[in-house]
Symmetry: C3
Subunit: 211 residues, 3 copies
């Protein structure tokens, strides 16, 4: 039972990120394969990066076909039905938030489950969550949103550290992934809808005496 829930959480993360990536591809007017490449890269890119960092070769998503199949299926749905999807505003942000939360918590919990130390688990969870989106943004040549969006990396970090700590104390990977993921998703969506921002640097001029 736990295994099934865990697999569902993983596929949900891949699907959510693939949809967000394919929506970006559609907005950039890419062709069918371009949309699939961006969607699939966003969906499985973070996990591939995680496996490279942890020395799992070849990365799971290049061996285990359901991961890629889910990512491609999500991209195809967007390609053919995107007018219905984009009509619902903010959907891109919502799917991205689900991918972010599920990946950060899952990645961190999984790293603890293979006996990596806490610091490594938090790093790996955060990188897994952010990696797919960075690949997506670099592919379409925009500034990676992770650096500018409302509490984006903070949400991933909070989800990863929560999941890693829960794993340390309960060793329950489903519980850790679900709670850490939910926290990250809520934090990201609330900060998006409220427009919460971290402080920006004081402008350099402010240190001058007068204008």
């Amino acid at each position: 039972m736990g295994e099934i829930i865990y697999a569902v959480l993983q596929f949900a993360g891949i699907l959510a990120f693939a949809i967000s990536g394919a929506l970006v591809g559609v907005r950039h007017n890419l062709d069918l394969l371009g949309v699939i490449v961006v969607g699939a890269s966003t969906g499985i890119g973070g996990g591939i990066l995680r496996d490279i960092l942890l020395g799992i070769n070849p990365p799971t998503s290049l061996v285990y076909w359901p991961n890629a199949a889910v990512a491609v299926a999500g991209s195809l749905v967007v390609f053919f039905f995107h007018p219905k999807i984009t009509r619902l505003r903010h959907f891109e942000v919502v799917f991205d938030a689900f991918g972010l939360g599920l990946f950060s918590a899952n990645g961190a919990a999984w790293a603890i489950s293979i006996s990596e130390p806490l610091l490594t688990a938090v790093f790996v969870g955060t990188i897994t969550a952010i990696g797919g989106g960075v690949v997506r943004d670099v592919l379409v040549n925009t500034v990676p949103g992770v650096l500018t969006r409302e509490l984006y990396a903070v949400s991933a970090f909070a989800g990863a550290i929560t999941a890693a700590l829960l794993m340390k104390f309960t060793a329950d990977i489903v519980l850790a992934s679900a709670v850490g993921g939910a926290l990250a998703i809520v934090l990201r969506l609330v900060s998006y809808s409220r427009g919460w921002q971290l402080p920006v640097p004081r402008p350099a001029e402010a240190s001058g005496v007068s204008s």
Copy 2:
């Protein structure tokens, strides 16, 4: 004999990609070392990515000097003789197509030869072929052409799957690399010259009732 042909095919792929990368560097007016860096990164970048994914450390091209030597030599030729090369129009596309075809087929055939499953081989071949060009385009800060050019990724994918299947049935890495590579090169060049494109998404406005 087979080994020699295989090595020649590999060097041809590295050389073709290095030339295409160096031509891009020259067009962006980079200096001598910039042209060498972009050329060499394009020539050996895809193979390094392949080795990272398959867990071959350090990557072959960082240990076996002829790979880098061929890539640097190709870049130097372009730097000093590029007016003659660029005079021949479309040469950049032609060299890039040869690199694409040779790398996709070679990468896939090689992955099968070390007992990776079919899916992994096709992924690895495609990533090897596309990787060098993505590195090149990211270095000069343009949208990676893989997402927008005529049947670019399709050609790499077709070459990789053909080579992987031939390897499965014949176990002849030279045959698989040559046939898969030739298919990808022809497909890419024909689609380039004919302007073949995959379908693009329906515009979102098309779903509205009227303007």
Copy 3:
């Protein structure tokens, strides 16, 4: 004693690169976490790339917390005190040059110390030095400076080859790192202040007969 000096050289490289990355983040008006992400990625990114290439999983900086702590501390100092830092002109270039020199020499010397061949050591040192800056520039979506700045990659290459050769002959990692690093820093700063450039390609028009 040697070990302490070596550790200090490593931390100095991470700190120098983190400061240069955070300064770029401040100039792009990123928020607190954005500045930390760019600063830390620049500080530890090159080393992570080095560890991936050499098959050290997980990369040292994701396991050994002082590396990340130094990078985050440097980024925080820049975030809160940057008006004082940016007032001193050219500081970004100076910190970047120290990171470049220390990383290229350190990376090459360390690769020799674990019995990698000379070619691999020079490649790894150069990639370690350049990698952090490339990550920084890609994150903020600018053309990586490595391709356009005065003798940038040349300096890294010179530091790496000097350190690798010294290691081969003396097996003294502190001496090799210090001498190679100093050479790269001096070469980079002198070429910056004098505006030294490598030759650029002849314009294609120059090969024509007349205007």
